[in-house]
């Protein structure tokens, strides 16, 4: 190796490392769960992003701190409620989630990192909430929680919490490919009278301020998120609704095939980040 190639190699490395280091602050939850808050973009992003960053990296120091310790994280009360519901029998079959799935920490560890996911029997891509209500109705003969309802978000937050630190890795190929393509198309569609796509704000303008809001990449590895603004857990589809509504558009509904597809696509943009939910946002 000549001196000049060595130099280029070193420079190259330094260049690669530089953007990562710029916003790299460590997120270690409870002093033990090490999060990846910035990573190389997945191949399927095709250069659309130069780096992939968790929403946590865009928040203020105070908001960030709330997510670093479960005693500070206001979403943990809901996680406790979700855990309790997991072990409580409900519905005509008299069964609890635990009766079939055992300990949540074991059976649900990889769920948040891999959903939305193709369900072979149903022949569709399902998100966690759809699967939970399917179990409630068809396995327990219980009332469905309802998408983005409080008990649903509590259960989803609990399932997410046991998957924290796992690397997001949703499958976009095979039978999921068609849904993923549909989600991608929606992501780049400019909606409403303001004529803006998800990409207008979260791909072209992340890290910029739009009025008082510091735009993130709109990643969903932190969902469900606890927002200080409304002091409760917020679901992914409700967030999508809010963002589309803000373009002066007619939104899709929570649980719609369009939002499931969009959820799969947006989740895949965060492949390589770690599960943070329930995260804390402003």
């Amino acid at each position: 190796m000549t001196m000049s190639t060595l130099k280029t190699a070193v420079c190259g490395l330094a260049l690669l490392a530089a953007p990562l280091a710029a916003s790299a602050e460590e997120l270690v939850v409870n002093g033990e769960i090490e999060m990846i808050t910035e990573t190389e973009p997945a191949a399927h992003l095709d250069g659309a992003l130069s780096t992939v960053r968790s929403g946590w990296t865009f928040r203020t120091t105070e908001t960030k701190a709330l997510q670093m310790d479960d005693f500070e994280n206001p979403a943990m009360i809901s996680v406790d409620n979700g855990m309790a519901a997991w072990n409580t029998a409900d519905g005509a079959e008299g069964k609890s989630c635990a009766d079939c799935h055992g300990a949540m920490e074991d059976s649900m560890e990889m769920v948040r990192a891999t959903y939305p996911k193709w369900n072979e029997e149903a022949g569709e891509v399902r998100n966690i909430q759809m699967q939970i209500d399917d179990c409630r109705v068809n396995q327990m003969s219980a009332e469905p929680y309802g998408l983005d309802s409080r008990p649903m978000l509590a259960m989803e937050a609990a399932i997410s919490s046991v998957g924290r630190g796992q690397v997001v890795d949703v499958a976009i190929d095979g039978p999921a490919a068609e849904t993923w393509e549909k989600g991608k198309e929606i992501y780049y569609t400019r909606f409403g009278q303001l004529d803006l796509s998800c990409a207008s704000c979260h791909e072209l303008n992340y890290d910029n301020y739009i009025r008082a809001d510091h735009l993130s990449q709109g990643q969903i590895n932190g969902f469900p998120t606890y927002r200080l603004k409304n002091a409760r857990l917020n679901g992914t589809h409700s967030r999508f609704r809010g963002c589309i509504r803000d373009t002066r558009a007619e939104t899709y509904s929570v649980g719609s095939p369009e939002f499931v597809a969009l959820e799969l696509y947006v989740a895949s943009r965060g492949n390589g980040l770690t599960v943070e939910g329930p995260a804390v946002r402003n």
Binding site: Q193, Y209, T251
Partner: protein, 158 residues
């Protein structure tokens, strides 16, 4: 009080002129570079009213995306678009009218919304309700508000 009277007078005048000289969104003629030579109303813009459009959320809310030093007293200017300081010096009135009415005629693919356009949108909503729009859309700003904003932008000289 003085201000309200002035505003009311302005509105009355705007309404009076509307029938005669107002150019509807569909009838606007854009030049080769997206400029609009002709006033949309024939009534000179009111820079003070234009300032209000720039800073008000329900109107132009231009500061959501643009910083303007002259509007320093208004909190939270965005960074999505360029700083508009001096824009009245390096842009003509016709260019500014075109950019505010439909920025995509000047900057194809721009994320800046078109403020004087009523069709060609995907799933247009009923304002910020998230519900479908009922009936024909109104432009985001009226013809006179466009003229007012242009008049304000022309005051932003070096």
């Amino acid at each position: 009080m003085k201000r309200t009277i002035a505003l009311a007078a302005g509105m009355a005048m705007g309404a009076g002129m509307a029938l005669a000289d107002m150019v509807a969104p569909a009838d606007v003629t854009y030049g080769e570079y997206g400029e609009i030579e002709q006033s949309l109303t024939g009534v000179p813009g009111d820079a003070e009213a234009g300032r209000e459009v720039m800073i008000t959320r329900g109107l132009g809310n231009c500061v959501a995306c643009h910083a303007v030093t002259a509007l320093e007293d208004i909190p939270f200017h965005g960074e999505v678009g360029p700083i508009l300081d001096g824009v009245g010096s390096y842009r003509t009135e016709a260019e500014l009218r075109g950019i505010v009415a439909n920025a995509k005629m000047t900057f194809p693919e721009s994320v800046m919304p078109a403020f004087y356009k009523v069709d060609g949108f995907i799933r247009p909503g009923n304002a910020f309700t998230g519900k479908a729009a009922e009936g024909p859309l109104d432009p985001l700003l009226t013809a006179q508000q466009i003229e007012d904003v242009v008049a304000y932008l022309m005051t932003l000289t070096d």
